[in-house]
Symmetry: C2
Subunit: 180 residues, 2 copies
């Protein structure tokens, strides 16, 4: 194998920590920059089929998110300084609602832009789906044409999560193969 | 309105040109870096439910992609120095195939990482769905558990597309709103 190809530091340095520092606080300017990064992501026909609910520990809806966490995420997600609920357009039968088949794809792009802005701000992030979707949808009173897909935890990685960090692993690039 | 929040240059400078420079050539190292950036994107359970087919003008499958273009994309996409076909896992009934409900979302993330790496390399990009999906799926002999979602054109923006560039527009950020 040749050396791995070079990738820009903002992408190469992104990783998902197993634990966050519960003493870290995120400021208004950082939250605004994260949302702004997602805002300018591209989308099919500029449909922008995304919505985000950014909750800090003191925000009213933070308790709704924490209350919906599964056992696996309840152990670490409340320590993040920001929990962002990521929503996308949902198909609703029998309505004129302008749903795009790329709603999930575009939400993924917007979340990627947000997490990469996070790296630029010195924030680690971890996306997860380990929460009670129905309970969180009810608690946040999400309208029927929106669907919660994931939550992103942002914050400072806990010191021991960095030192005990397991290496990231990925499939190799196989040129020309579309099957596996 | 206050000033717009700061966003890292790699994200702020990304835009989708209307035309590419047909004289621009992309080198092997750049293609490798684009694929490497996508490779390290995060995904649900590290499922990596994506695949990419990178075609330069001289590559055999470039003709397949160009042959499938709609009238709207045929006018500009062949001028790009690279066309990347973006595929994700597809649900297949009655099989043991390991499909993730986040396949589209994760593909969107990986494509975002690839396009941001493109900005770092000085490459403009434009994603599109203006092609004959069935024809391209047949031409590339895509297995049934993979689905082509989009194509990304990478290259150098045509000089006149930069000067005649229309400003990017987005919805405003509305704090706390999940409805619109």
């Amino acid at each position: 194998m040749p050396d791995e190809p070079a990738v820009h530091a903002l992408l190469a340095e992104r990783w998902s920590p197993a634990a966050f520092d519960p003493l870290h606080e995120i400021d208004d300017e950082q939250v605004a920059s994260l949302l702004e990064a997602a805002r300018w992501a591209p989308s099919a026909g500029n449909s922008q089929p995304w919505s985000f609910l950014a909750c800090r520990r003191r925000d009213a809806q933070h308790a709704d998110v924490v209350g919906s966490l599964s056992r696996s995420s309840a152990g670490w997600a409340p320590d993040a300084s920001l929990l962002v609920v990521n929503l996308c357009h949902r198909w609703v039968d029998g309505t004129e609602w302008d749903y795009s088949e790329f709603a999930d794809y575009d939400l993924g792009q917007a979340v990627a832009h947000m997490t990469i802005e996070g790296v630029a701000l010195g924030l680690a992030s971890r996306q997860f789906r380990a929460f009670d979707l129905d309970a969180l949808t009810r608690a946040l009173d999400v309208p029927p044409h929106w669907a919660i897909r994931t939550v992103t935890a942002f914050g400072r990685a806990a010191a021991d999560s960095a030192t005990s960090r397991t290496p990231r692993t990925r499939e190799d690039v196989r040129w020309g193969a579309t099957d596996r």
